[in-house]
Symmetry: C2
Subunit: 353 residues, 2 copies
Amino acid sequence: MWERSHNGERGKAVRNIKEIAQLSGVSKSTVSRVISGRGYTSQEARDKVLKVVQELQYKPSAVARAMVSQRTHNIGILIYRREYPVASHPFYGKILDAILATASPMNYSVFVTTEYEMSLRSADFMLEKRVDGLILISRLEQNVIEHIGKFGVPYIMVNGSTDVPGVIHIVNRDQNGGMEAARHLSGLGHRRIFVLAGPQSHRSHHLRLEGFRTYMNGQGYEFGEFDITYLESSTFEEGYRKMADHWEHFRSHPYTAIFGTNDMIALGAMKFLMEHSVAVPGQVAVMGFDDIDAASILTPSLTSVRVDTERMGRLACEMLDKLIRHEPVEETAIELEPQLVIRDSTKRRGEAL
Amino acid sequence: MWERSHNGERGKAVRNIKEIAQLSGVSKSTVSRVISGRGYTSQEARDKVLKVVQELQYKPSAVARAMVSQRTHNIGILIYRREYPVASHPFYGKILDAILATASPMNYSVFVTTEYEMSLRSADFMLEKRVDGLILISRLEQNVIEHIGKFGVPYIMVNGSTDVPGVIHIVNRDQNGGMEAARHLSGLGHRRIFVLAGPQSHRSHHLRLEGFRTYMNGQGYEFGEFDITYLESSTFEEGYRKMADHWEHFRSHPYTAIFGTNDMIALGAMKFLMEHSVAVPGQVAVMGFDDIDAASILTPSLTSVRVDTERMGRLACEMLDKLIRHEPVEETAIELEPQLVIRDSTKRRGEAL
DNA sequence: CTGAAAGCGCTTACAG
DNA sequence: CTGAAAGCGCTTACAG
């Protein structure tokens, strides 16, 4: 049986401090001091202990350490989504990467979990695991936050907000981004814009649309009109589908541009247009939001509004670390400025169909 | 100071079994039995304890449990890559998602870490954390494996292989996939194919090319010729760059198809072609390998060879769980069959430039 | 500078 | 069916 030969010697490999103490001829206390570097130890003791540690490849148990220090040096990331993908999600995956990249040098290990709507399962799991802190990604229901809040575990929300006051959160200034999008399109001369808006229960989609609307309305009628179509999800497929549903309407009106409240939506719509021989940006300009990787890979590349996911993840870690170490944190709401990224999909001025 | 009001009551929230015992008027042992459901307990005891547990929202410490059971119910994922992205990597991210989706219902929490070439830092970290098992993703150096092997912690390799014998690994049958690609292209009538091959030190790129070559050579000269260009990395940028470098050569030869040993490479090349007004697939057919999400989103959508990342991740979890529980595992090398996915980029027969 | 002892929060035989 | 005790692998005052 393969299993035997592979793991037959398991258990042998795991040493403990007592063994190290015996082998190096000192007490457990001394071994502990040598390894942690805390407290006084003689050069002689250090030499003996380190030699044994080296030889036996002894790795002190972080579990036991966590037990006494009441610190696990683990943090948990909770991503709220109804379904996978999570890690490979074009947007959340980026935030995740930024968190992983920042947490590691800070000596935190990170648990990645997803939570389905309304469920507290993963959250409770993390609580039982005694993580030092939690990073909550995306929208979440109030009850989840209140639940977590009860346990006194520090936590930070990323890319989501809540009505619960005082919760530290890091978000993109989506409203500004929406305004940027409107300014860009109308600046290019587009006067009739077709807007595909993701679920308005979602903070970001709501605010992006808000910003877009605000800018357009502020410009007055002569600067442009726009029609909004609401989508039930923010996926590529839904963007494609809704574009298909409104195809007759679309072609019978003088639209020259499309704005999707995220890139996936915009790409879905663009796919449909290209399949129906509508030139992008020749006949219709298309722009999205998020600036996911696919945006620059595509032909034509997609104009978008970049969200600084790298900074979101980094700040989340840094602030969480402060909370964990009981350092003061000045701000409770961090808002990052998005950035317009102009690419081919809006390059030339659109012409009516 | 915000920090105070937020975390001032920390510590209060974390109860322990002793408190629960006192409040419910039974011993710690009884509380333990009630909560774990192991051993005999009277209905009366159960009622009292559960009531207190409920009221105080008591969550038993997984750390303490791990201490006594010598099982953390945590597994670690080590992704070997020189740089980010990791989670958001179009291919590894999928494997990661599949692992997360499978691990959670099995009651494992998962640590996600990356390891840079040659370093043992993350691996040692996971070892100290006393994970129950490890999943190693991508190629890794022999020394890392030997190092991990010393500790008797069960582990499984995914999408990579090693010379170390007996290591359980789950891989795609890349050679077969390469043959499929060759068969598909030559079956469409392509007689002159330009191959962009990723780093040959990488198992998958090597085998994909091997398979492609094997099929083509087996067909004899009259069935087609191909030229191979080796890339230094397997990225979109490198695919684009190498296509640009060989542009003069390419256009002066009657190539009608391009095969990239992964999708990113193929997409990079395709981007260049489209920027230079080469119609895909009208003039040149393009195909890749992996079937990442972008492949189906693009216009034209990309023909590819699908790797069953979902199954890879799932099997990795299931087998690791068996190893952890000392159950026998039959196979030491799992090879998954890839699947040709035909899309628009090879739809019609290519014409020479 | 070093070691014995207590304790972190649980579980698990063992008596009763 | 229940409780006292020992122990998981460490760290941390406290004596010496």
